[in-house]
Amino acid sequence: MLVLSFAVSGAGNCVTVEDMPYVYARSRLGSFVLPARCPHRGGPLHLATVEPDRARLVCPWHERASSVRRALSSGVPVVRNGNRATAVFPHDAGTPHHLTHRPLSADLAGKTLEDRS
């Protein structure tokens, strides 16, 4: 398994492993590791919105929706400590990876549940 640390926001907040970019998303329903490329046509999921009345993430390109709860419970295992996220990817240890920056939509860079309550 591949254990990687990356920033939650700011420089280096996107880690790419085997061509798939991942970011740490902080939605109003909780935080999770988000594959930043939409499985439909590769849209920028890091710019997705969260539906106001449902726990669904909506891709900005063709509005395909996916479950936030599923991402929370079944996504890549991750822990955030301050501005650092550490995730355990299923890839072999030593799989090449690199860090870049991707902007996040307001819905995904926003406050956590605790901050809002």
Binding site: M1, L2, V3, G30, S31, F32, V33, L72, S73, S74, G75, V76, P77, V78, V79, R80, N81, G82, T86, A87, V88, A93, T112, E114, D115
Partner: protein, 473 residues
């Protein structure tokens, strides 16, 4: 079944909490001391009850407020509450009727119950910020947990901020003594929080847990018990070994490190977090002890007894691996993967607290070393106040000879100005400035300090300037 009505969980807040904290801390055991140090009386701890009613414990302190006075006050109180579960005797015994009275008072049902009532609110006050600092999600499995935890084994270990602060201090011996004092609440009753988890009936991991404790306790041979080794370290550098002799010199974050384990051990719903935190400390302890041994021998060449630290290098080498392979993974096997997020959380939370403590101690050493400079800074800041360029709330104080302001800290910078008389201003163990009429000192935010009046009377002013640097322009 007859209707018994809804279950109402225990809660204490607002004025009730304030009153309860006041009531607990006003026990004669916890009043101010007339001396800087406690003298062979483990039951006496200065909790400064005279100020608790001005503190709002009914909220969660933020990460940026965690070194404020509220935390110091709450950590002192929590240490006292947790330690009524521990047995302490004065080194001179209990034949002195005053000490016997303190002994029975400290362990009395009244003291214990009053403490228990405020404990949950105080724990939330000082540890609640961890809920926002650390967050765990995704699908954790036993394998991903193991991969995650094992990365610690390869993490390069560098000297911590306290170690650099001591090496670079203008008075390394004083700094190193202050450092050893910070460990006393933990090391003299070492492994006591851990023993809280030795009780009960929970399978094989319980016996493995017990083995770790046996190591810490020197296999029942008192001369090898770790607390005994630490006593020898203290004595070798001229420090006392009676419990909480140096109570007033503990930083809030040092108490916090120790209290964190009591908090996890006292509240068994946090048992799994303890596992994560235990793994972290056991795995990093060996390198830490190796560096501590080297540092102490560098500062006190030829005189310091460092066996406490060298012993840990030998014994604890396997504890990290034991914690993982014999305790954590079998517990996950037995309890299911639902407990993993809690283990991960404890592992990270302890690092948050350790980082706070490292930073706090390094800053305290800079503050102690900066005594002469802070005294010099009085002149320009006082000038800014006198000229009217800066206006700040002021307290006018008159105190008699021998009056001791027990140690505390402020939530912003202050200026102390002596109108008449003489004050000994204390900024840490063996660290002080003498302030005469017309003189004074800048007091930095969050820095532990106290004072004693050396003249017949002293008239002085405390100006709450907030940020002293703004007075300098």
């Amino acid at each position: 079944m007859s209707n018994v009505g809804p279950y109402r969980p225990f809660e204490l807040g607002g004025a009730d909490l304030r009153e309860a904290v006041k009531r607990y801390t006003s026990n004669p055991l916890y009043l101010d001391n007339e001396e800087w140090e406690n003298d062979d009386n483990p039951y006496r701890r200065q909790l400064r009850p005279q100020v608790v009613e001005h503190l709002d414990f009914d909220r969660v302190l933020g990460r940026d407020e965690i070194l404020d006075y509220e935390n110091l006050a709450a950590q002192r109180i929590l240490t006292t509450i947790y330690e009524t579960d521990l047995v302490f005797f004065p080194k001179s015994g209990l034949s002195d009727p005053a000490k016997w009275a303190d002994f029975t008072n400290f362990y009395s049902s009244s003291n214990r119950v009053l403490g228990e009532m405020v404990r949950p609110a105080l724990e939330r006050h000082v540890f609640g910020f961890l809920d926002t600092e650390v967050e765990v999600s995704g699908k954790w499995t036993k394998d991903s947990l193991e991969a995650f935890l094992r990365t610690l084994e390869d993490r390069p270990q560098e000297p911590s901020k306290p170690e650099s602060a001591i090496r670079n201090s203008s008075d390394p011996e004083r700094a190193a003594r202050m450092w050893l004092i910070q460990f006393a609440p933990d090391f003299l009753s070492e492994a006591s929080p851990m023993i809280r988890n030795a009780l009960g009936y929970y399978g094989e991991a319980q016996s493995e847990w017990f083995k770790v404790i046996i190591d810490e306790y020197g296999y029942g041979v008192h001369d090898t018990k770790h607390s005994k080794l630490f006593e020898r370290t203290l004595e070798s550098v001229g420090l006392r070994t009676d419990v909480h002799h140096y109570w007033q010199y503990y930083l809030s974050s040092s108490l916090m490190m120790n209290n964190y384990f009591h908090y996890l051990g006292k509240n068994h719903e946090l048992f799994f977090r303890y596992l994560g935190a235990l793994y972290y400390t056991e795995t990093t302890l060996v390198d830490f002890c190796r560096r501590a041994d080297e540092l102490l021998r560098h500062v006190f060449p030829g005189t310091v007894d460092t066996q406490y630290f060298t012993e840990h290098v030998h014994i604890d080498q396997h504890h990290g691996r034991m914690a993982l392979e014999k305790i954590i993974l079998p517990v996950v096997e037995a309890c299911g993967e639902a407990v993993i997020p809690e283990i991960v959380r404890g592992f990270e939370e302890f690092q948050v607290i350790a980082e706070i403590a490292d930073e706090d101690f390094a800053r305290q050493i800079a503050w102690m070393d900066g005594g002469p400079r802070n005294k010099e800074l009085h002149a320009p800041v006082w000038e800014a106040i006198q000229s009217g360029r800066v206006s700040a709330p002021v307290a006018h104080i008159v105190e008699p000879h021998g009056e001791l302001s027990n140690t505390h800290c402020h939530n912003g910078d202050e200026l102390c100005h002596i109108v008449s008389g003489t004050m000994r201003f204390v900024s840490g163990f063996n660290s002080f400035q003498i302030l005469e009429a017309g003189e004074g000192t800048v007091i930095n935010r969050n820095r532990l300090h106290g004072a004693i009046i050396e003249s017949d009377e002293c008239v002085y002013e405390i100006h709450s300037v907030g940020d002293y640097e703004k007075c300098l322009s």
